[in-house]
Each structure stands twice: as C-alpha cells, then as structure tokens.
C-alpha cells in the first residue's frame, strides 16, 4: 500500500505561458513549496501541459519515486485529466494527484495585486499539498454501457446526429416533440450558398434516417424524466396519440373544421387542428394538434360525430448517451419594436420567407393586398442588444450575442426578391454586414450589384419605424441616422419593413433541469470548453448538436451534429464506460451500522445496512453500491462515527486544507 | 536501411552531401563568416555598457532590423541579457562567459 510508503510529493507551479507568471511569482511559490514537509521536488514550467512538461512529471515519478503530485496551473476542468493521464503513463495511480487552480482563481483575478496573488498561490498550493498527503489510490468505476443513444429533437441536427450514430452500429432513439420531423429547416425554401431547396435536402436526410434499421423515431413525444448516468441512462418518453389512422386520416382531415394560426407559416395562415404542415412531410400521416383540439366532435361524411382522444403511452428507453438537439426559436419582437405588431407593414424575416413561399406564383410582391415597391430590411433585431441602451426582455435578459446567420439569410432573401420582383427597391439597414462564411460574401456583392441600398446605423441609435402621414406616397417611414452619409438623418419611405430577427434558445427549462446541463449567459446550452470539448457538456454522456448550443446555419449544425455523433460513438462504441470513483466509502472499522446514512440518502440503492458475520459475531455495517451513489456526501455529515467519506473528497482532507490556508507560510515575508 | 547495398563510409556520405548541397554550401559558409564578424562587433559594442538596438545599429553601422534579429538570437542563446529600459527601448548587455 502506498499509504505505508514514505510520502514523496512533487510540486509543480506552471507559468501557463505567462498567464500565471505575469502576476504570480512562480519561482517564489516553487521555492516556498520546496521547503514543505514531504516535498521532494518543486519545479516551475513554462507550460506543464506540453509534452515536455508532462514528460518531466513522468520522469520525476520514475526517477525520484514520487508518489503524490500537486500541480498549480489552470482550472481543473481544463487539464486535471491531462495530468492524471501523465501519472498513469508513469505507472502511478491517477488519483494520487491534486490540481490547484492558479489561473482563473488567482493570476487572472488579482492582476493588480502581485504580492497578494503570490501569497494566495502559496496558500492554495500548501492546501493542495496538505490534501495530497491524505490521498489514496482509487480505481474508476467500470460499467457496462448501453450501445444505444437518445437524440432529443428531430430537426436537421438531431436527424444527422441520429444517422451518424446509427451508421456506426449503435442504436438510436430519436424523440421529436412535434408530430413531424424536420424542424426549422422545413420552413425554409432555397438555402444559401447552394440555392438548393431546404425541404428537398431534408427529405434526403429523413429518408436515410427512416430507412436505417437502427433508428427508432418517436414523434409527438417528450422526454419526461432521465435517471442514471453515462452509459446507463434511463429516459422516460411519453408519446401522444397521432389521433388518426391510415384509414380515416384523409377523411378526418377534410372533415375537420376547427382552425388555428399555422405556426409553420408563422401565423400568416391558418390550419386545421388535424393537419399536415406541408406536402411531403414525414411522417406523411396527418396528426391531431392536441394543444388546440379540445374534443370538438367531427362528423365524418355526414355520419355520427366522433371525438378523438389522446391516449399517451409511456416508454422507458435505456441509453448510454444523450444528444440534445432541441434547436432554436426565432426571436419574437416585442409589441411596438420597430412597429412590430402595431403596423401591419412590419414583418419578421421568417414570416417573409413563408409569405414568399405562399405567393411565389404572383408577379408582383404584395403585402396585405397592397403592392410592395419599396421594402426595407433591418438587421440585428433581438441580437447584439446593448445593456443600458436596449430595454431588457421580460425575464431581464439582454440578447447581447450576434445571431450569426441573419446577415447572410437577409441578403440571400433580397436576392430571392430581386429575382422574382425585378422592379423592387430594397433597403438594408445594418450595423456590420457579417457575411463570414464560405461563399457568403458573394451575397453581399450580389446585393450591392442588384441595387440594394445599404444604410448603416449604430446599435446605440436604432432606426425609427413610424406610420406615414395620410397622403404620403408610402405607408411607412423609417428614420435613421446613416453613418455612411456622415451621420445625416435619412427618411426612407417603404411599403414593407422586414425585421431580421435573431435566434433564441427554445424554452427547455424542464429538460435542462432534468439533464443538469448548464446554460451560458446567452441562455444557450453550454459546452465544456469551446476548443477542447466543443460539443460536450459538463455532464458526462450528454452532448450538444446544432442550434441548442448557439446560433448556427444548416451547414454548421450538420458539422456540429456529426461531431457530437463522433463523441457518442467514441464513448459507447466499446460497450463500457468508466466513472469517477468519487463515491461514498465506508470505513469498516468505524462503522457500527447506525443507519443514519441510509436514512438521509436520497439515491435509491446507493447505500444499505447489511449484516455480516465476523469472527462469529453478527455485525451491522453500511454498504455502498458505487454505481448508484452520487457522491453528494449527505451521509458524511450525519455519521456519528465519522465512518463514511466520499472517496477523494474526505472531510479530513478538507480540514487539512483549511488548516493550510489558515496558517502562514514560513518564508512568506519575502513576498510582500 | 534494407535498400542500401553496403553502408557507405563517413567520407563518402560527406562527399555526397557536399555535392548535393553545393549551392547552399558556399552560401552558408559565407554566412557563417559574416555571422561571426557581426557577433563580434555587436558583442563588443555592448560589452561595457548596455545599449538599445538603435544605439548598437548606429555604432556598428548596420540596419536596425538586422541588429534586432541578432540581438534576439543572442538573447535566446544566453549571450546577452536585457538590462532595463532607455525610454521605449530595452537595453541589452553582453553576458561574460564564466
């Protein structure tokens, strides 16, 4: 047992390429740590996570017989695993390692107090050493993993992720909330930069997904609960009835009288409560919109009126990983924002796209029955909002992010307009044209060439949209300070105003709580690290695909979905997963089976008191089932005998760390 | 290497390399000479007092960008050190070999 060995601690203070050493005097820290008891070597390094740095650690373990390693560097989320792997390579148990965050929690937050930061680094490192003395070797919990994944969301990202996972021989359950798959992409027409029809593209993808034997699709379904952990999640899926059958579908469809605004066309048209959103949708069978159909009787061919009923069914699916592909909602402008909701000539870009699709046969663009000769697009509606300038939304948030796709989408739409309605005058009110992607700049060029007039406003001074006075040539006037015309104020008379609305995350609070994933300040789902692990969440086994994570266009959603699929396959492909060993462990010598731990534990099957026969005597003792233990430690606080602890996070380790922080460093006077 | 019949002697290898790189060879040899000369003049310029790059450049009559390149190189290989600032310019001084 290494416990019995003499402690040999190696301490490393990383410069982090200057990130730490610019503020913290790493050399002094290293020197002070070198004189701590049990420390056999204390080094600094420019970049410890580099191959050379890691080799140094390995070398010290091999050559100096180091059996505990303490590293002060960046946040543990970044490189704890990296360094544990270095220990493994050197033949040391990876849990004999203590990570100290000196960057995010020291050098980066005390840049004005170098002495204070150095002193703090010493205390934190000392605490790290104190904990390291009390570390024990641990083994990860190895479990069988379900070779099945759950994909939540049947939009383009979800479909693509499902297909990519299934193509690697894993099974997939795809859950879509609405009765039809395809998501937001189905509402588009031609897509940039190839001008292909969105639904044609989608149809190709859906066909592959549907025909793949490894994919099971649930539409009108929702994930109601998730239990378990990576490799062994159990998700409860509730599926609503479709309400119609192959036989009666068409008859019901034509007999249904009740109409509601059609969300597929963003409320521009109405549809029946038994519906099919567009021809060629999947599944082709119409569905009942249970939110709006409240049991109104429908009479079929003049027969007896029948009442349709929703009988939800519940399915439990066991999956090893979960792909969240819940997508986005277009920003809904506030009442009166640029005249939206007040002037009938103000629409959103998604609405216009639907309007164009519905009225393509027409030779002239019409809105509300009036011909449109002049149309203005306003960018950044619901995006790039500025604190102190823009009014916060109902929940107090400010959409200060860029929605990434609206610039190209707007310019692409102006191209569609110019092609169909050559005489149209188009104005484009922007802050910065962000046609960043491959081929996107061409849309800007073509819009210019096609005579679109660009007017540049500042986010601090939005354009004003007002109704024109009676007798004016146009119904709506836009007043805008144009920075391209030396900040002179211009008046633009138009027949139609189109708001290029941004993307917002969908309302998925329930799911977020269920999965325990985090959201960023923009309220989109948060990845672990944008570069190291861009599609993974902090929850092991839960990955992100598409616009649930942030604004993306179709191409980017597809890439993200495929990348997410690659992670899932890498995770589950071998059929087993490893879990961190940070679970409760009972000290057999101290435990006398009081059961206080069992009483407080909220996790089913995590802990139980069992009776053993030892030396002819019956003893009661608590026993932990590691796979079910969350490691919360509720049992630790209540054990009267201090007989239970969370492995790797023990109470005595905390006490040692507290003591180290409370005490002083011997030669610290040099620092101040 | 399996494809080679017999291991050539060191002399043969050097001869072959000299032939293969005949053009660069002459250039590099001239470069080495020039580098030695420049090393000497720059180092002697900053042996006694620390100087900035423009000061060295003026003293040794070389373009400043080139002087900076040498200074950076000498610094990398431990031949000189920074010794504070003179206005916006760092000062460099020769390190005497122990």
């Amino acid at each position: 047992m290494p416990d019995n060995d003499k402690l040999k601690i190696a301490v490393y203070t990383c410069y982090c390429g200057g990130n730490i050493s610019d503020v913290v005097d790493c050399e002094k820290v290293a020197k002070a740590m070198g004189s701590q008891p049990d420390v056999v070597v204390s080094r600094t390094d420019m970049s410890l996570c580099s191959d050379a740095g890691q080799s140094q650690i390995e070398q010290d373990i091999r050559e100096l017989g180091v059996n505990r390693v303490v590293i002060g560097s960046c946040a543990p989320t970044l490189h704890e695993v990296t360094f544990r792997n270095a220990l493994i390579r050197a033949g040391l148990n990876p849990y004999l390692y203590q990570h100290v965050g000196l960057r995010e929690q020291d050098s980066w937050v005390h840049s004005n107090d170098h002495a204070g930061a150095t002193r703090k680094a010493m205390h934190l490192m000392k605490a790290g050493i104190a904990k390291a003395r009390l570390l024990h070797p641990l083994e990860p919990i190895r479990l069988q993993a379900e070779k099945q994944a759950l994909v939540i969301g049947g939009g383009v990202a979800g479909l693509r992720a499902a297909l990519d996972i299934a193509q690697q021989g894993l099974r997939v359950v795809l859950v879509e909330k609405s009765p039809f798959v395809g998501g937001r992409m189905a509402q588009l027409e031609a897509v940039f930069p190839t001008h292909e029809n969105a639904r044609d593209l989608l149809r190709g993808l859906i066909k592959k997904v549907v025909n793949h034997p490894g994919i099971k699709i649930y539409t009108q379904a929702e994930v109601m609960g998730v239990a378990g952990y990576v490799g062994n999640y159990c998700a409860q899926v509730i599926q609503h009835s479709r309400g119609v059958t192959e036989e009666n579908a068409e008859a019901l469809l034509s007999a249904c009288q009740q109409e509601v605004p059609d969300e597929f066309n963003y409320g521009l048209t109405r549809r029946k409560t038994i519906y099919r959103p567009y021809p060629g949708c999947y599944p082709p069978l119409p569905a009942v919109d249970w939110d709006n159909y409240q049991g109104e009787p429908i009479s079929l061919n003049g027969g007896e009126p029948i009442v349709l009923e929703d009988v939800p069914t519940s399915v439990d699916v066991n999956v090893g990983a979960i792909v969240v592909a819940t997508g986005f909602d277009p920003y809904e402008p506030r009442q009166g924002e640029y005249g939206y909701g007040e002037l009938k000539e103000v629409v959103t870009l998604p609405q216009l796209i639907r309007h164009l699709a519905l009225s393509k046969a027409n030779h002239a663009l019409e809105w509300n029955g009036h011909p449109v000769r002049d149309v203005a697009f306003i960018h950044c509606v619901g995006s790039r909002e500025i604190e102190g300038v823009d009014e916060p939304h109902e929940d107090g948030r400010i959409n200060n992010y860029c929605s990434r796709v609206c610039c190209t989408a707007t310019l692409h739409t102006t191209e569609e307009l110019r092609q169909h309605f050559p005489g149209l005058n188009i104005y484009d009110l922007y802050q910065d044209i962000r046609t960043y992607g491959r081929g996107h700049e061409d849309y800007y060029r073509d819009a210019l060439l096609g005579g679109v007039r660009f007017v540049r406003y500042h986010g601090e001074e939005h354009p004003q949209v007002t109704a024109a006075s009676a007798g004016d040539t146009h119904p709506v006037l836009i007043r805008v300070k144009d920075s391209l015309t030396y900040n002179e104020e211009l008046e633009i008379p138009v027949d139609l105003v189109v708001l290029a609305v941004g993307m917002q995350p969908r309302q998925i609070d329930k799911l977020v709580n269920m999965l325990k994933v985090s959201r960023g300040t923009d309220r989109f789902l948060l990845e672990v690290h944008p570069k190291l692990r861009p599609v993974e969440t902090a929850v092991n086994g839960v990955v992100l695909a598409g616009t649930a994570q942030g604004p993306m266009n179709i191409q980017e959603s597809l890439s993200a979905a495929s990348a997410a699929a690659a992670k899932v396959v890498a995770l589950l492909g071998r059929g087993r997963v490893e879990l961190q060993p940070f679970v409760a462990a009972v000290d057999a010598e101290k435990c006398n089976g009081t059961g206080a731990c069992v009483e407080i534990c909220e996790y089913e099957g995590a802990i139980a008191v069992q009776t053993f026969t030892e030396n002819g005597k019956e003893v009661k003792r608590a026993v932990v089932t590691p796979a079910n233990c969350s490691g919360c430690g509720a049992c630790v606080a209540v054990c009267p005998n201090h007989a239970i602890n969370v492995q790797g996070w023990t109470l005595s380790q905390y006490e040692a760390m507290v003591d180290a922080i409370a005490s002083d460093i011997p030669n610290m006077a040099e620092v101040a | 290497m399996a494809t080679q019949q017999a291991t050539p002697s060191r002399g043969e290898i050097l001869k072959r390399l000299r032939e293969q790189h005949a053009e660069t060879f002459a250039r590099t040899q001239a470069l080495l000479k020039e580098q030695k000369r420049i090393e000497q003049v720059i180092c002697s310029a900053i042996r006694e007092t620390a100087k900035t790059v423009p000061q060295i450049a003026e003293e040794v009559g070389m373009p400043a960008p080139e002087v900076l390149w040498y200074v950076a190189s000498f610094k990398k290989y431990g031949m000189l050190v920074e010794k504070g600032m003179c206005g916006d310019y760092p000062l460099y001084q020769k390190v005497e070999k122990k």
Partner: protein
Amino acid sequence: MPDIAQSPQPKILVLATLAGGYAGADSTGQSHLDYPANTYVLPVMCPVMFPPEFFVRAFERGIDGIIIMYSGTDSPYKVEADGTAKLINRTYQLMKERGIDIRRLRLAAICTVCVKPFLKEVNQMAELLKGIGFVKNELASRNASAQGAPA
C-alpha cells in the same frame, strides 16, 4: 505561531460546488475581473457533506469568513438545496453558542456563469470583515469575557 502581522487581511474561505460556485469563480477568472486576493476557493462536490462542527473548527483555526457557493435548486444533487439550508441553520445555532458572529458564514447560490453575483458575494464579505475584524480577536474577547464573567 501564526503571525497576524503577516496576514494583513482577514481570510475568506469559499466552499464552492463544482457544478456551481467553482465554475462561477472560473468564469470570473475568464472575464479577468479583480477581487480581493485574500479569498480562497475550494471545490466541493456538494456542501451537504460538512457537519456544522467543520465550520466552527475552521473559524477557530483562523478563517475569518466562509461563503458556501452552491448550486441551489439547479444542483445535480437532489439533497443540495434543502440539505444545505438545514446545514446552515444548524451551523448558525452552533456559531451562536460559540459566540461567533453568524454573518461570518454566508450561503449563496452561484451558477456557472454568475460572474457578477460571485463578485458581489466576495466583496460583501470582504467589506463585512473589514468592519468586524479577525475571528481570532472575536474569539479572544469572547474567551476573555467568558472567563471574566461570573459562572
């Protein structure tokens, strides 16, 4: 013996959950926002593991203020929200018994990106400690008065 003169400022210990406060502290670092350097953040999985005695012990060892930054109801642990609240109440009881100003212990829900709330908590505690001073002095005067007071 620890020398007070070497520690110019009272020490603040932050017990921060990995899923909440600790990540929030990292976010603060990523935003490069300054706060007092006498703040020491230790990661915890879930604060319910600490018995009230742990906190009192920490104060007695010379930690002047403790902030528990947990994830509240957003926690990955079912017990965290209620359990921590109960724990705090019990600890306050114990602190009162030991004559420790209960303002030295605070509970705050900090999310992974709660940069501003994190700074607010830390700065508030720092301000408070400026006012009420070192815990050692407080304990010393209590001991003195306890000894001086009639039994």
